[in-house]
Every structure is written in structure tokens, then in C-alpha cells.
């Protein structure tokens, strides 16, 4: 990943999609560093969307976040946004951004879930179950049963639940914040070259996320 302002601005000028990982003051925001290249690889594999070969890291409280239509936030530890982060997140969502939050603990009793959902509710609004027939699940690939299950949901850690729904806060009818307890951060946190060992690419749902964020 790069944090270069100039490179990011250049990519934006070229009209490329750039994957953005959100850096927040508390917690371990960088707990899944390989998710970004993996999703970039997936976008390159399945679509013709111009894509920057490396992701960027953008502070949640900074203006740079507004360059990216999709932002990814994860972690294990309790999340406490600063007032600036809260304010900026609200602005980001209101101005058309989509924040994808994934609980790296996949534990509804865990502190990431409790604190992150509380902070998101304070910043943007309450989360509600996203129906499994939502257009997100047909934005590129079709996921008839809703969000794809991950291999980590029942791995003995976390809450050991298969979560049927993702949760979302809708802003003017579109998803502003998408929250997952399915631990896509673990599921997608591998080097893209290892994808060849999978019979079914488990990152295809990320294409729907990107296409939805770019077109809605």
C-alpha cells in the first residue's frame, strides 16, 4: 500500500479506482494488510474498471478520504472515533462515499463489534439488516442467498455464527455504511497469487462492493 498523496491524486486524475483502507486513531486498523491487493487483483481479473495497482491508506479524520468512493475499515480492538473522525465520516457518507466495515473478530460479543457499531450509530445512524435481495448482491455477480459465507465464521473463534445478513445504514436510498460480522478481513487476507489454489474465488463479492460504490 502507499500513502503518497501525489500518487493518489494522479490515480484519481486518470480516473482509476483506488482501494482505500481507513486508518483510525484507536485500534488495529492495519490488521488485514493483504485485503487491498487481493481485491485489486480481483477487480483486475473480472472487470475492465481502471484500477490502481496498489491501495492507499487514508486517515478517517482527513480530507484525503473523500477522494475514494469505497473505503474499508477493519480491526480487532475497541474502536473509538475522535470527534474529527466522526464528523468526517458523516460528511464522507453524505457526499456519496461507501464505508465497508468488517469485524475481524467475527464476534458479535466482541469489543470491535460493540464499539464500532456504537460509533457508527453515533456518526451516521443506526445499522439495520440489509435484505438478501438487495441490489448489492446483483451489482456484478449474483449472490442469490445474500452475502457469501466465509470459512472463518465457524472456525471455533468468535461467535461461531453464520450471519445471514450484512447490516447497513442507508443514506438517500443507497448504502452509506456496510457492516459485516462475517470476517471478510480474514477470508480475503492472503496474497493474490495464492488465489490460484482456490476452486472458487472467495473474493468475488468484493467486485459487487466496488461496482456498487462506483455506480450508485
Amino acid at each position: 500500500m502507499v500513502t503518497g498523496e501525489r500518487a493518489a491524486a494522479e490515480a484519481a486524475r486518470r480516473g482509476e479506482f483506488t482501494f482505500c483502507t481507513v486508518q483510525y486513531e484507536s485500534g488495529d486498523w492495519d490488521s488485514a494488510p493483504l485485503v487491498a491487493p487481493n481485491i485489486i487483483d480481483t477487480i483486475a481479473r473480472y472487470t475492465a474498471i481502471p484500477v490502481t495497482p496498489t491501495g492507499v491508506i487514508a486517515p478517517l479524520g482527513g480530507d484525503a478520504l473523500h477522494r475514494y468512493p469505497l473505503a474499508y475499515l477493519t480491526g480487532h480492538l475497541p474502536v473509538r472515533f475522535t470527534e474529527a473522525e466522526r464528523r468526517n465520516l458523516k460528511r464522507y457518507v453524505e457526499r456519496g462515499g461507501l464505508l465497508f466495515v468488517d469485524d475481524h473478530n467475527h464476534d458479535v460479543d466482541g469489543m470491535f463489534h460493540k464499539t464500532a457499531t456504537e460509533e457508527l450509530t453515533r456518526a451516521v445512524g443506526p445499522l439495520a439488516d440489509l435484505p438478501n435481495d438487495h441490489e448489492l448482491y446483483r451489482a456484478f455477480f449474483t449472490f442469490a442467498d445474500g452475502p457469501p459465507t466465509t470459512a472463518h465464521e465457524m472456525n471455533g473463534w468468535g461467535d461461531n455464527l453464520v450471519h445471514e445478513h450484512l447490516q447497513a445504514t442507508l443514506v438517500d436510498g443507497r448504502i452509506g455504511v456496510l457492516y459485516s460480522s462475517k470476517d471478510y478481513s480474514s477470508e480475503w487476507n492472503y496474497h493474490p497469487d495464492s488465489k490460484r489454489f482456490l476452486s472458487v474465488d472467495n473474493t468475488r463479492f468484493a467486485v459487487n462492493l466496488v461496482v456498487y460504490a462506483l455506480t450508485r
Binding site: 487483483d41 495497482p53 468512493p69 469489543m111 496474497h191 493474490p192
Partner: protein, 688 residues
């Protein structure tokens, strides 16, 4: 009737004409002044209402005084007789003599000469001459008043008293909506008293306050709020409705027969407590999980606090295995106090923390809102971390006093500046002085070069001593001294990594990995060497060029470094072309992102609505007030300043007062901040 009686009667008529003329002139002048002021207002010159009244009164009184002063014949019989003599010159003072009581005896002799005086015609002529001019002016002023626009003042007489916000179907005075009374009972927890408002255009109250509206009159009354009917109860001629103040602003629409009236409900939210931390002010890392950490904070609330407590979360573990514990500390009931300063001590021993664990602490306060709450306010969270095992092993602790020379204050740029100054002064200095000062700079340059060398050797895994042997002027004899070259470095690198004999790898020329990494520092090192050599022999002028090159190389090295304070994530660069199988996959082209409407679209819509309402103001003032009321409802949540200005304007319009200022303020707020171009003057003075 005798001549004396005729003269006395004429005197009374003339006095009446004079008084009427005075009044007419005063009225005409006042109306003319009012018409002129309204005309000025139409052109943007607005005179405040008190000023307008004063101007009209002064003009009227002045005109009346002048008219009275120039009123012609006085009311005394003698002057009336003289006035008649003027009008009928052939009398030769016969009338004046006959009217004088002192010559009463001559009256019978003079009577034949006075018989033909046209008393009625004289009276009419006097009245016409005196009253015609003010009447003409009065008519002209009335005509001017009719054609001038009325400005932004709704005529109060056009509506029944107190009938605010009505449309074309204005409630008549007998309507049950003509006069309203609102009673607001705030929720008990606020401790606020009940208030009563007469004929309110809007009712502002805390959310969930009980709002009761009452009125009286014949005919049915219906009420609607946000599309839902509100029950209205009748008791004889009186009616009443009661509702709870909603969370969002709304317009309560009251209808009776063909009449309608709007009342804006303006909720005041009960704010959540504001909580701040006084101690601990920063996140902390503790070496060992023992002892206590004092906590202090402050909580305030607009209606009173119910409780406050410190919340903590202890996180342990790593990787996939995290465990959490949480709890509260120092909880206290605050019994409605508006301000509290909770304090507590976080005992690290009691939490049984292990190295690497985190504790998050924050202060949480709840208010007494039992209706829509309680409102919860939280402070920023502080993180207290227990250091990991071995975390401090690599930490360089400088126990001793600072070194003799403050190396941090020494920079290549500073040495360059010193050398340039010395070179400037050199023609005026003795040679011995030049050499002395130049050698002093040379020593600093050598020290700085040594630090650069340390950096290079540290990267190679060699101790500082390895570089030490290569410095000149350090007072040691460790062999050959001189510049570093890539072969030396490669040898050092091989030695450091145990790689045996150094071999050139697959890099161009002498560009080994070691050299590539250290290239800018090596350049700087060698230029510094050249510079110090020239300085040693007292030639600062010749040292400047290599010193500048060294500075450029150091800057390059600085820019090449990337420091990741939180650790360096793996830099995976995706080969997009390869992932796309040389670009043959074209699964479809996804259109670009649709640009969203500007975020200020709502503000622009409000401005357009305000424009439309203002256009209505002259033709249909009541409908315009309605439009402003509804606009205010929408503005309450998103643009409170605009809502305030609109409320002011509505009150003024309803009271029949001039609302121009308030509307102008509302217009400015609705249009937003003016766009300015930095650097351009506000007015160029050169025309449009």
C-alpha cells in the same frame, strides 16, 4: 339684520374657513410626505417606522402652521369689515364706520349705502379661494399614495386581529380560529414551568412537552399535523386540542369552514450531556500493570444529570484470540445537577492485566430525560497500554547528560552558511584568522561526516568502530584514511552478512544492492570529505561547492526514506495486466461513477422557495406568510439561522410592521456565503 350683525357673522365664517384650510393643508402635507417615503422605500431607501411617523407628523404640523399664519382675515369684526371694504371698494369706509360701536348713531344714515353688499357671494368666494389649493394637494397626495407600492408591510386592517398565517380564506373575526391561546407544559424532568402564548405563529418547546391550543367560536374546527388528524374537543363555543411536541418540526394546520390557520411546532431537543476528560489527557503506556491511574472529568447537561460512571474495557490477546472484559467504575447518582466532576482511580492491579494488554477508559453520563432518553454523553476514550515483553529492549535511553557537542544542532546547511559568510569576510580578515575559523568549520564538517558514516555502517550491520577507522582528524591511527568506495562497502557488507568473498551481483556497473541503498549517503560522505580537506587548508571558497553537493545528496537521502510509525505493511503491487490475462478479458465496461448533486442542493431549494414567497408578498401577503411559515418548518432542523430570521419576519408581517430587514437577512442566509475570489478587490472603481 344690521350691518354690525352681518359683519360679525362674516367674521365667524372667515374664522371657520381659516381653521378648515389649516387642517386641510396639514393633512395634505402629511399624506404627501407618507407617499414620498413609500416611494423611496420602493427604491430601496428604507426609513424605520418611528422615523417615518415623525417625518409625517413634522411635515403636517409645519404645513398647518404656515397655512394658519398665512390664513388671511382674522376673526375680529373690524378686520372682517376692512376685508369687505377691500372686496367692495365703493363703500368708502361706510361699513367700517357702521360696524364700529363708537359710531352706532350713524348706522341709520349709512344703511342705504350698505344695502347692496353681496354677503353670501363674498363668503363663498373666500371659502373657495382658501380651501381649493389644499384640496387639490390632498387629492394629489392620495393619488400618489395609491400608486406607490406598499413595501413589505402587510396591512393589519386587512385581517381580523390576531389572525396569523391565513391564506385567501382569512378567518373572520367571528371564526373560531381568529384568536388562539397556547399552553405549553414541559416534561416534568425538565423542571420548567408551564407557559401561555397568545395568538402564536409558532410554539417552541422541549420535545414531548404537552401543547394545548384553545379557541372559541361557532363552527367545526379540524386540525392536522404531518398528514395525521389531531383530535379537537368541543365544550360549547370553546374548543381545544392537545398534543405532544413532536421530535421534528411541523406545521399544525387548523381549518374551520373555509378559513385556515397554521401554527409551527418548533421542538427543542434535550441535548445529551457534554462530557470531557480532565485527567488522563493523553493515551498512556505503562511499564508494569500495577498501581492506580487517577481519572477526572466533567459532565454538563441542559436539564440535569441523572448519573455518571467511568466505563472500562480491558483487551487481551493477539491474532485470532482476543478476550475482553468490561465494567464500570465510580458510578454516582447526580440527582439533576447540571454539572458534575466525577473522579475515580483505575486500579491496574485489580484488572490483573498482562503485558501487551489494553485498557480503554471513558466517562459516560446520562441525563434525566425520561421521555425520549435518557440522553447519553460520552467522553473521548483514553487507551492505557501495558508494554509488551521486550518492548523496551531496543529503546535507547540516554541516562547521561547530553554530549559535549550538541550534534543535533549541527547541520550541513548550517556549515555551508558559516563557510559562505567566512568567504565573504575573507578579504577583510588576516590570513591567520581565516585559517583558524576555516579549520574550526572543518572540525564540525568532519564530525558531521562521521555521523553520516555511522549511518552507512549501521545499515551494513557493522558497529560504529568499523567506520571509525576511516576518519581523518580524529586523532587515531587506524590505517589508510580516505573516501569510501563501493568496493570497500561491498566488502563490509559481505563481512557483516557472513557471505564470504564479495562478488558483484546482477546489477549494472558497480550498482550493488548495498551501494544502491546507500548511494545518496555515500555521495554526501565523499563530498563532505572534499569539503573538509579544503577547509583544513584554509580555503573556504573552494569548500563551498562540495558542501553544496553534500547538502543536495543529504536531501535526496532524506526524501528516499519512508518511515512507517506503525510498522511497514507488505507492499504488494498487483500486476493488473497479468491479472487480466494480457487484457483480453473484457467482461463488460462499468460506467463511471455518476456525479452526485451538489451537497447544497437543499439550501438552493430553500432559497428558491423564499424567492417565490417574496414574490407573493405584495399581491397575497397572507399566502406569503403561510409559505414563509412552511419554509421555516423545513429550515428549523437544517438551517436554524434561516429559521430564526424567517420567524422574525413572520412576526413582523403578522403585526403589520415592516419586515424588510428580517426578510433581507433571511435572503442572505438562504443564499449562503457569497463566493469571493481571493486577491481581487471588492470594488475596482472602474465601472461595472
Amino acid at each position: 339684520m344690521t350691518a354690525r350683525e352681518q359683519v360679525a357673522r362674516l367674521a365667524r365664517v372667515l374664522a371657520a374657513v381659516r381653521a378648515t384650510r389649516t387642517g386641510l393643508w396639514a393633512l395634505a402635507a402629511g399624506m404627501l410626505a407618507f407617499a414620498v417615503l413609500r416611494l423611496l422605500a420602493a427604491f430601496g431607501v428604507v426609513v424605520p417606522r418611528p422615523g417615518m411617523v415623525a417625518a409625517v407628523l413634522v411635515t403636517a404640523v409645519a404645513a398647518g402652521a404656515v397655512a394658519y399664519w398665512r390664513g388671511g382675515a382674522a376673526a375680529s369684526p373690524t378686520r372682517a369689515a376692512l376685508w369687505v371694504e377691500e372686496q367692495v371698494p365703493g363703500l368708502d369706509y361706510a361699513l367700517v364706520t357702521a360696524a364700529d360701536p363708537r359710531f352706532a348713531a350713524t348706522a341709520p344714515f349709512l344703511a342705504p349705502r350698505l344695502r347692496d353688499i353681496p354677503w353670501e357671494r363674498l363668503s363663498r368666494a373666500a371659502a373657495v379661494r382658501a380651501l381649493a389649493p389644499p384640496l387639490v394637494v390632498l387629492l394629489a397626495a392620495s393619488a400618489l399614495l395609491l400608486v406607490t407600492p406598499r413595501g413589505h408591510t402587510a396591512a393589519p386592517a386587512a385581517r381580523a386581529p390576531g389572525a396569523g398565517g391565513s391564506t385567501a380564506t382569512t378567518p373572520p373575526a367571528a371564526s373560531p380560529l381568529a384568536r388562539l391561546r397556547a399552553t405549553v407544559q414541559p416534561p416534568a424532568y425538565t423542571g420548567l414551568p408551564a407557559t401561555t402564548l397568545d395568538d402564536p405563529a409558532s410554539v417552541a418547546a422541549v420535545v414531548a412537552s404537552r401543547v394545548e391550543l384553545r379557541g372559541a367560536g361557532e363552527g367545526s374546527v379540524a386540525a392536522e399535523l404531518g398528514g395525521r388528524a389531531v383530535a379537537v374537543t368541543r365544550d360549547g363555543r370553546a374548543w381545544r386540542l392537545s398534543l405532544a411536541m413532536p421530535h421534528a418540526p411541523g406545521a399544525l394546520r387548523l381549518t374551520s369552514g373555509g378559513a385556515e390557520r397554521l401554527v409551527v411546532l418548533e421542538p427543542r431537543a434535550d441535548s445529551a450531556p457534554v462530557v470531557t476528560l480532565a485527567r488522563t489527557v493523553v493515551d498512556t503506556v505503562v511499564r508494569a500493570p500495577t498501581g492506580g491511574i487517577p481519572l477526572a472529568g466533567e459532565a454538563t447537561d441542559d436539564f440535569g444529570l441523572a448519573s455518571a460512571a467511568w466505563e472500562w474495557i480491558a483487551s487481551s490477546g493477539e491474532g485470532e484470540n482476543f478476550t475482553f472484559r468490561s465494567g464500570t467504575l465510580g458510578g454516582a447518582a447526580l440527582d439533576g445537577r447540571r454539572r458534575a466532576e466525577p473522579r475515580a482511580t483505575l486500579s491496574l492491579d485489580a484488572l490483573e492485566l498482562k503485558p501487551g494488554d489494553f485498557v480503554h477508559v471513558r466517562l459516560v453520563a446520562r441525563d434525566r430525560n425520561t421521555v425520549s432518553g435518557p440522553g447519553v454523553g460520552v467522553s473521548e476514550t483514553r487507551t492505557i497500554r501495558v508494554a509488551r515483553v521486550g518492548e523496551y529492549d531496543s529503546l535507547a535511553v540516554e541516562g547521561a547528560p547530553p554530549p559535549e557537542v550538541d550534534k543535533s544542532a549541527l547541520s550541513q546547511r548550517m556549515l555551508l552558511l558559516l563557510t559562505e559568510r567566512l568567504e565573504e569576510r575573507r578579504p577583510r580578515l588576516a590570513r591567520a584568522t581565516v585559517v583558524s575559523e576555516s579549520q574550526a568549520i572543518a572540525r564540525d564538517q568532519t564530525a558531521l561526516r562521521k555521523r553520516v558514516g555511522e549511518l552507512i555502517y549501521t545499515r551494513l550491520g557493522e558497529g560504529v568502530d568499523g567506520e571509525h577507522s576511516h576518519f581523518a582528524g580524529d586523532g587515531h591511527e587506524h590505517g589508510v584514511e580516505g573516501k569510501l568506495d563501493p568496493a570497500d562497502l561491498l566488502a563490509q557488507a559481505s563481512k557483516a552478512t557472513g557471505g564470504g568473498e564479495p562478488t558483484m551481483l546482477d546489477f549494472e556497473g558497480d550498482e550493488t544492492p548495498v551501494v544502491a541503498v546507500n548511494q545518496p549517503l555515500l555521495e554526501a560522505y565523499n563530498h563532505m570529505w572534499d569539503a573538509s580537506r579544503e577547509l583544513e587548508v584554509g580555503a573556504p571558497g573552494r569548500a563551498i561547492a562540495p558542501m553544496r553537493r553534500a547538502l543536495v545528496a543529504l536531501q535526496k537521502a532524506r526524501e528516499a526514506e519512508r518511515i512507517y510509525l506503525r510498522g511497514r505493511p507488505p507492499a504488494v503491487v498487483v500486476d493488473v495486466a497479468r491479472a487480466r490475462l494480457q487484457g483480453k478479458d473484457s467482461a463488460g465496461v462499468v460506467s463511471g461513477r455518476t456525479p452526485r448533486e451538489d451537497i447544497d442542493a437543499a439550501a438552493a431549494a430553500r432559497a428558491r422557495r423564499l424567492d417565490r414567497a417574496l414574490l407573493l408578498l405584495d399581491a397575497q401577503p397572507a399566502a406569503a406568510v403561510d409559505s414563509l411559515l412552511l419554509l421555516r418548518v423545513d429550515a428549523l432542523a437544517e438551517a436554524p439561522a434561516l429559521a430564526g430570521a424567517l420567524g422574525d419576519a413572520i412576526e413582523r408581517l403578522r403585526g403589520g410592521r415592516d419586515a424588510t430587514d428580517a426578510l433581507r437577512r433571511a435572503r442572505r442566509l438562504a443564499d449562503g456565503e457569497p463566493h469571493t475570489a481571493p486577491g481581487l478587490p471588492a470594488w475596482s472603481g472602474g465601472g461595472w
